[in-house]
Point group: C2
Chain length 184, copies 2
Amino acid sequence: NVAHGLAWSYYIGYLKIILPYLKDSIRVFNENNNCLLKCKKTWKLHILIPLTCEVYDSLGEADSRIQFISNLPEVSVDRAGIKRRTYKHSVYEVLGENKKTHYCVVEYATPLQSLHAMSQDDSAAFSRQARLEQAKLFCRTLEEILEKSKECSGCYQLIVYDDSGENDKHFLSKEILRHLKQQD
Amino acid sequence: NVAHGLAWSYYIGYLKIILPYLKDSIRVFNENNNCLLKCKKTWKLHILIPLTCEVYDSLGEADSRIQFISNLPEVSVDRAGIKRRTYKHSVYEVLGENKKTHYCVVEYATPLQSLHAMSQDDSAAFSRQARLEQAKLFCRTLEEILEKSKECSGCYQLIVYDDSGENDKHFLSKEILRHLKQQD
Ligand SMILES: Nc1nc(=O)c2ncn([C@@H]3O[C@@H]4COP(=O)(O)O[C@H]5[C@@H](O)[C@H](n6cnc7c(N)ncnc76)O[C@@H]5COP(=O)(O)O[C@@H]3[C@@H]4O)c2[nH]1
């Protein structure tokens, strides 16, 4: 089951490594950026999981109300023969309906891009219907792993949404803000 | 099948992206490093695939005859919401039996680390026996994908080996050198 392996790889090769550094990275970022990320309850990695697996490389392309601000300080780790492999997250400004600006650390779950590409390549043997089931399996598996993980506790929020047939140009910013509000 | 998905993800999310930049990165590295990587036939990414999935984060720990020299210039790409995510490879010096030094770009296939961790976690539902079969499936799937890939043609060499029960402290350096010689 492809999605099961991708969820494990995403946890073992990424979240388990970087989430323990996140709050300190945000603290350093705030010292140098006028305490932009004020609310400590949002000191988390917000992980976008679109069930269509449609992942944009730039969030501004998905929704013009989302703007890149800056990257957090990098984390550097020797991994599998690569010396000082680096990991970073991006801070975004999200504009609300009332023109109020909110800031958060947000990114897509990258393995969904692999699921999408596999559903388009014949030899990967993967239909579009199977892709939706795999996206849901990815999400369920990731939730189960993260709930049991001490290293990651309180450091992430999954933002899962079905954007198929979505016509609202500002669907994503509204979805992110809805989740940020739930944390306040 | 976990390994099938990991091989596709490794190709789509990494090799397909970075291999096209490799020869230029090596060219720039050589200009700044006394043309250390002389032989153009070794201007490839040498990918270590231990069938035991035992991956060391530092190659020198696997074999003291392998020493880190320097990293190649980084490649920077906007990916899935991360601005300027960076990719790099490490250059190593490998000492031969005759004390002759060889240089190459080498690293482990990262997904094997996930396979290894999955076989140790009960909830991943993965035995050690299954892990060996998955490692072989990873290898076969990756070979098939890479043979059909125009982007990656001539840019890689897979170094597959069974190191279970291996007692030679310098097994890895010898294995790498054996493959480098085949290219001359
Ligand atoms: N050697 C090596 N150097 C790299 O820079 C690199 N980047 C990816 N990979 C491997 O390629 C495959 C596809 O990567 P993808 O990004 O889709 O999934 C990645 C991605 O979803 C997440 N992740 C890992 N590193 C980062 C990162 N720096 N930023 C964001 N996400 C990351 O966690 C997954 C597993 O990572 P790895 O377990 O390191 O192995 C990956 C994977 O097997 C790499 N391998």
